[in-house]
Symmetry: C2
Subunit: 336 residues, 2 copies
């Protein structure tokens, strides 16, 4: 699908935004460090490896159950750096503010960013603030970029999945997307659905205790678990088998997904990661993850197989198989 | 001046935005690396010093004589890293696109970014694209962040000005601000005024050939030369004397400033730098600068004096003196 105008789909994290990156950006800026389908770049700085990542946050609404655009922006970049197998160290903050934005809201968001950098154990070291006239932006947008050092023994990447790997997720799917959606639509539920926004670097440190056993780390944000797994399958030339019965979704989240017509496999997460691990190390990694507050519900949801390279299949509850494709339209604009 | 809402002035680069940074951001995120009045942070990465900087570009219009938002975004961050005395190496790109933005315009802007990274000799290594619904942003906003290595012999900073230093600028003032303003207002002039947007890292390399002689490097963007010098005077506790007769302004730029009521001292530049240099090294630095295409019009515009610490005075053409204050209102919103 081509268009002479930018569509909401171009920002979906799914198939159309994948094409924008692969067809337009990648050919222009090709270099040895640019791997646009990873969460960040792996740089050589005076002979050491560092991860460098950037992410812009435009979530609507800016306050939602479980978080706000401030901690989301910090956690999002901390996680992108951590998914490169790095220890996040430094983050930047670029603010775009709409004229008339309440100062009190800005203070709340900055306080939330401060708490998030402290919880992640990183430092916010540089920033920039732009103000645009009323109507030229919607309230506040935040860019964060981050840098972290990579342990020389770590070699993770979306192209490193190999047959036999177990695929671990650290908890339930679709919490963030559905929390934002419910807030945006003004839906009220008896059971509050909260965003899972969290910094995952402490959990990643535990996962990487045995660095050679971990092949892929990925946070399934926009486009959800389904899209992230498709990108990994394609980049690794590997087949992925998911077990539908193992996919963790909270009952209240499943309920609202059902009600609104969303598949939790494609809904954004902001405190979840996928780890592809050697099968004989999987139990040890699971045990280590379950010792971390952000990994207590960790479980195996699938494995890498020798069949159907580049594709993701799901073994359904009733024993059938169906293909799991990339997200092909914009499910939820401005989800992060 | 306090306000319970964000004002355009908060993004001016002048006094009000200075207060936003100093009163709100700095106390929250205080750490040894955060120096919000420098153009970037100086980081320790495995024992080596690196500069890290971020900047968001919201210029209106996005195409203007001499450049567009794409090369402006690359050059702006390259320059911020270079002003830390670093060799810029890597940049990131975070795009916010408005739904409906013409694909052809995006391609033009990306091509312009590509040309800018090539001219600067840096690599664009990571990026992110968000799309917001029509009306939630104005066309396109671009964040760039950058990283560069600092030669161990270099020690520049806005707090390093010392009495006796000569203050050098590499060419004429106010070109960028007046080019954007003329384009925005639909003004037509016989003599085209062009933005000075340029990457200054090659020029900085020549300036730093004698690293110990250079104390301050600063690009006078938002708020112009007048505001940048005030920040340096305050941070260094130094007095600054400017020579009005030495301030370079192109006649056509002076004309439009006069016409529209702007003082070129406070108008944004995007290809200019201020270098504070030991007086006995100043002639050698000037000669080196004049050998660079971006420094051919380099000249001395003032000096650091022992009097009036923290303040900037100008020796006027008729031999008087007047104080040069910080920009206190928003001259030109969305100038970069």
């Amino acid at each position: 699908m081509t268009s002479d105008k930018i569509l909401l789909d171009h920002g979906s994290g799914g198939r159309i935004s994948h094409h924008l990156t692969a067809d337009l950006l990648l050919p222009l800026f090709t270099n040895e460090f640019l791997s646009p389908l990873n969460d960040g770049a792996i740089l050589d700085l005076n002979g050491d490896r560092f991860a460098f990542s950037t992410d812009t946050f435009v979530v609507d609404p800016i306050f939602f159950p479980g978080g706000d655009i401030g901690d989301l922006a910090v956690n999002g970049t901390v996680n992108d750096v951590a998914m490169c197998g790095a220890e996040p160290m430094y983050v930047s903050m670029g603010l775009i503010l709409e004229e008339g934005f309440p100062m009190g809201n800005l203070k709340t968001i900055l306080a939330s960013m401060k708490k998030a950098v402290e919880q992640a154990g990183v430092l916010l070291v540089t920033g920039d603030t732009k103000v645009v006239p009323k109507g030229a932006a919607d309230k506040i947008f935040i860019n964060t970029s981050g840098i972290g050092a990579i342990n020389p023994q770590v070699r993770v990447g979306s192209d490193q999945a190999r047959a036999g790997d177990k695929i671990i997720i650290n908890g339930s799917m679709a919490d963030h997307g559905m929390a934002v959606m419910a807030q945006r639509e003004g839906l009220r539920f008896d059971t509050a659905i909260k965003s899972d926004t969290a910094a995952l670097n402490h959990l990643v440190r535990k996962i990487l205790a045995n660095p050679r056993a971990v092949h892929v780390l990925r946070d399934p944000t926009r486009g959800g678990v389904g899209t992230a797994l498709n990108e990994i399958a394609m980049q690794s030339g590997a087949g992925i088998k998911l077990f539908e019965s193992a996919l963790p979704v909270k009952p209240e989240v499943a309920g609202i997904c059902e009600l609104l017509g969303f598949d939790p496999l494609y809904v954004a997460n902001e405190g979840k990661l996928l780890a592809f691990v050697d099968s004989d190390a999987a139990e040890a990694v699971l045990a280590a993850m379950r010792n971390d507050p952000d990994g207590k519900d960790a479980c195996i949801i699938g494995e890498v197989v020798a069949d159907h390279p580049g594709k993701v299949y799901m073994e359904t509850r009733i024993g059938g198989h169906r293909i799991v494709d990339m997200l092909s339209g914009e499910q939820l604009p401005r989800i992060c």
